[in-house]
């Protein structure tokens, strides 16, 4: 998951970046509105956290520009302004959620997870595909009701593929959403990660939830189940 943080206060920006990285997000940072608008437009961002009182370009304008450009990744407004009129305006121009400073980091993370899930079209916080269930709130995965231990990175790969179930995801696209450009990454590492993920999810090789389409990429091939199950 690639998260963009547009926040002019350096300490808060760094704290957010640090915590999001720990959670397995790829983080892009912008210190002012113009930079934020540019990154959101030109990079494959999955979600954005935007402050309203930004230098150069107000947060409201940043969000408006993204939406006018047809970009529909979820946006969470993180601001000191607690008046309802600001909330109405912010969500009116196309933001999806609103959090007033100071905030609990856990609440912010929970809301981001919910935003990403809803943006992918899942109403339920637990994504269920047959016997495979991914709980976006607890960030845990169960197969046949038994918890599977995943690293944060493995979890992000699976989450991304499940949120885009049925779509062919190229290796480049996957890398873009899981690595920062500055990070040195080897496509072999991704392949190794996927192999390990497959082993953990499907040790018997009966399910084969993630298929490899040679030269094109990967696809999560299980069918979505209706109704909640854990």
């Amino acid at each position: 998951m690639r998260a963009l943080v547009v926040e002019d206060e350096a300490p808060l920006r760094e704290q957010l970046a640090e915590r999001l990285r720990v959670e397995g997000y790829v983080v892009d940072l912008a210190a002012d509105g113009e930079e934020g608008a540019f990154i959101g437009r030109d990079y494959p961002v999955d979600l954005a956290i935007v402050d309203l009182g930004l230098p150069k370009l107000p947060g409201i304008e940043v969000i408006r520009r993204w939406r006018e450009a047809g970009l529909c990744f979820p946006v969470l407004i993180l601001t000191a302004r607690g008046r309802w009129q600001d909330k109405v305006e912010g969500l009116g121009v196309g933001a999806d959620d609103y959090l007033v400073k100071p905030f609990e980091m856990e609440e912010l993370l929970a809301r981001l997870r919910a935003l990403v899930r809803r943006a992918a079209g899942f109403a339920n916080p637990v994504l269920t595909f047959g016997s495979l269930a991914l709980d976006t709130r607890a960030e845990c995965v169960r197969v046949e009701g038994a918890a599977v231990e995943l690293t944060a990175f493995e979890y992000r790969i699976l989450e991304y593929l499940m949120l885009h179930a049925g779509e062919v995801i190229s290796k480049t696209e996957l890398a873009e959403h899981l690595y920062h450009e500055d990070q040195d990454h080897d496509s072999n590492v991704l392949e190794v990660m996927l192999a390990r993920l497959r082993r953990k999810l499907d040790p018997e090789r009966l399910l084969n939830p993630i298929e490899t389409l040679r030269g094109r990429g990967y696809r999560f091939r299980l069918l979505k189940s209706s109704g909640p199950s854990v």
Binding site: E9, L12, Q15, A80, G82, R83, W84
Partner: protein
């Protein structure tokens, strides 16, 4: 001055003041004019009467003669035929210097006996105003002459004419005069009235436009006004424009203050969760930051409430409610809350847009947090004036009786596990009761959950 006198004075409209003043002045002026004209006419008519009498006296003098016995005699044909017709109204009499009656005109015989005053100075005509025994009025002229013959004889010639013709003349003149004067007064007052109507029209227009502004149909005074009013109307327009800008600036300043205060708080709060911070310190700091934030948040929200301002355009309630519905549907997307919003058509709130959104936002957000599925809002006018009542209820667990009195007081919330800063209803209560002088009440609704009722 008594208070009653003051209120009467203040209550008079400009039109009434002008009308009263003009009526008094006009009455005095026309009254004096009338009296003067009346007197002048009377004097001139009287002078004419006197001149005519004098002509008669001299004519009689000319006609009279002494006979050989030196008695005063008159010819059969008197110089004026009316002297010969009994009761004609024109009478003549001659008295001797002793006062004894010498001669009476035939017109007088058997009809009148006039109480002529004696005339002492010879050669000077004396005008007399007489009333006879029956009360009839006469104008008379007496002239004392001395007749030189062998002896000298003193006579006084009197000619009297009844005042009927004179009275009729004066009466006729008076009627015409006062008729015209009253007519002129009425016409003048009517013309004055029209002039004032025209002259005061700009004032009436200002009042109408102010009413339009208060009703929200226009935002400032549009018409062009005469120079005397222009300063006033231009300043009023400037004030109307300025007030909005001023409130905007003020709220921006508050937003900046909130930003510069709460962002560092956010940094501190995140730092508390750091693994390096000792656990006892974490709890203490978290509590302190929470308390600090609650105070700041509450004070900022309260300060941002503007309240009712004179000449403010009333706010439509329905659009504000619809905007909030869209916002809250996003914020509480996972819950899938069903909104049932019943706003009386055309309902308007006489106050600030931001305050209305703040009140409704907090109350609805609270309802969404507690609701299982359904939130109902009802808004309708209340009472005869501009008041309105808003009810919001949910199908949640409702408010327990023991915490009900405390809810909405600063920083108290029923369940600390449910998000928010616990100042939502406190801010609403402050705006509703402190700023707008309304009322907020908590109860149980038909759906079984909490019911918040707000009177504004």
């Amino acid at each position: 001055m008594t208070p009653i006198g003051l209120t009467v004075r203040a209550g008079l409209s400009l039109n009434a003041r002008l009308l009263i003043a003009a009526s008094v002045v006009l009455t005095a002026f026309l009254g004096l004019t009338g009296l003067t004209l009346d007197r002048a006419f009377r004097d001139s008519a009287l002078a004419q009467v006197r001149a005519a009498l004098q002509v008669h006296v001299y004519a009689l003098l000319g006609a009279a003669d002494l006979d050989r016995a030196e008695r005063l005699v008159f010819p059969k044909r008197l110089p004026e035929a009316r002297f010969g017709i009994p009761g004609s109204g024109l009478y003549a009499q001659v008295n001797a210097a002793s006062g004894a009656l010498v001669w009476r005109s035939p017109s007088m015989l058997g009809f009148v006996d006039l109480p002529f005053d004696p005339v002492y100075r010879t050669g000077v005509a004396a005008f007399q105003d007489l009333t006879d025994a029956d009360g009839a009025r006469y104008f008379a002229l007496g002239l004392a002459v001395v007749w030189e013959a062998k002896k000298s004889y003193g006579y006084t010639f009197y000619v009297a004419e009844q005042s009927d013709a004179f009275d009729a003349l004066v009466r006729g003149f008076r009627q015409a005069l006062w008729g015209w004067l009253v007519g002129a007064a009425v016409v003048l007052l009517a013309v004055q009235g029209l002039i004032w109507r025209w002259g005061l029209a700009p004032l009436r227009r200002v009042a109408l436009e102010v009413a339009e502004i208060e009703a929200g149909r226009q935002s400032e005074l549009h018409s062009s006004y005469p120079s005397e009013l222009r300063l006033l109307t231009e300043r009023l327009n400037a004030l109307l424009r300025n007030r909005g800008a001023h409130l905007e600036r003020y709220r921006h300043a508050l937003a900046d203050l909130a930003h510069s205060f709460k962002t560092p708080l956010a940094v501190i709060r995140s730092a508390i969760d750091d693994k390096d911070t000792p656990a006892p310190l974490q709890a203490l700091m978290r509590e302190q930051v929470e308390g600090l934030n609650r105070t700041v948040e509450y004070q900022l929200q309260r300060a941002a409430a503007s309240g009712r301002t004179v000449l403010a355009r009333p706010i439509e309630v329905e659009p504000a409610v619809r905007k909030l519905e869209r916002t809250l549907a996003k914020v509480h997307a996972d819950k899938g809350v069903q909104f049932d919003l019943q706003v009386a058509p055309g309902l308007r709130f006489h106050g600030d847009d931001g305050d209305l959104v703040e009140i409704l936002g907090n109350v609805l957000d609270n309802a969404c947090k507690w609701a299982r599925r359904e939130v109902v809002l009802r808004a309708r006018p209340e009472g005869a004036g501009t008041g309105l009542v808003i009810e919001v209820e949910d199908d949640g667990p409702g408010v327990p009786e023991d915490v009900k009195p405390a809810i909405g007081r600063r920083g108290v919330r029923a369940d600390p596990k449910i998000g928010g800063h616990g100042i939502g209803l406190a801010v609403v209560r402050e705006i509703v009761e402190g700023v707008y002088g309304g009322r907020l009440e908590l109860g149980r609704g038909a759906l079984g959950g909490a019911l918040v009722r707000v009177w504004l």
